[in-house]
Symmetry: C3
């Protein structure tokens, strides 16, 4: 069994941001030389997500509006987590809807994707340096 | 390390449909000869889900009603994604709640399940040919 | 390839309960001797979750309140699943938001976590003996 572990880092610029990291993951896969296996991609933060969906601007607007409705940022005082001095309780909830991680099949040295699958980092509490873990195991 | 990769295909007949694919996955596992490992099952589409829950008709009705409330199909014009000519923005949202994939342990040549776990394909934007990826790695 | 499979069992005391099982998973990893691999942790029940988030009491209160709003327990008769004699339809829905499983990277013999990641069992229909599966594959 072979494995590779790498970390993608970036600074997010706003509270809500969806960043397409598919190419970054593909580069790591190419470096690994792994032909058949499983690729885990997860956020290392608890107020952001990794998820797979469409790279379409209108949809990303819809995600923002929808998540804000299901887990509103305001009023900040409605959340007990924010009594600790934080104001990101909503981001911890949003991340549960969108998910922490994805696991993608590696087949014939490629991410084994349907035609529209793209990997996104979803930021819900931005303005800091963030890290994504990519680990591939296989042969 | 050993691996098997197969694709389950079917046509969905209505916009909302939950299809039990547990037996299909078990057949692939039997063909693989893998005794200990991990089995990934994911939708290859971005408006449908793979998830594990109960095979109970009343519950499936509840899922339908609940998802429609959290991410309503109508009014279609409320979603910016639908400005592209699509009318499935709600399906992209529903899929995030229900999830893209499951990873199941393979132990002693079986899917290592609790008594009620069953694997479902959840269709939220139907009437087309759909594909599910099953990849098992192990020994 | 090496693997270990273990089951964590416990009794939950109330309908809603979040139990930090990170140390239990770390002990299993230490017993396995696996240095590089993937660790699957899943609930074996269909009305509870495994998820990764913050071990902060205020946030756990917020999760409870939020899930109760998105998938209310009452009125019990509003769910068709409860016509079967159950009264836990809401728990099956809550589990979909919070997720069935997590997959964690194992790097240099450790769970490869960001600073705040902790693994929780989320109970939404308690008062019974419950089981969590931990499977690690790697080398």
């Amino acid at each position: 069994m072979n494995s590779i572990t790498e970390y993608i880092t970036f600074n997010t610029k706003s509270r809500f941001e969806l960043i397409n990291i598919t190419i970054d993951v593909e580069k790591i896969l190419n470096r690994s030389g792994i032909k058949e296996g499983l690729c885990l991609i997860n956020s290392m933060h608890i107020s952001s997500s990794i998820f797979i969906n469409d790279d379409e601007e209108g949809l990303h607007h819809d995600f923002h509006e929808w998540l804000e409705k299901l887990a509103p940022h305001e009023p900040i005082k409605k959340y007990r987590h924010n009594d600790t001095g934080e104001e990101n309780a909503d981001a911890h909830l949003k991340r549960q809807i969108m998910g922490r991680e994805v696991v993608v099949a590696v087949t014939k040295s490629k991410l084994d994707f349907g035609p529209w699958e793209q990997i996104f980092y979803g930021e819900f509490d931005g303005n800091r340096k963030k890290r994504v873990l990519v680990k591939i195991i296989g042969e």
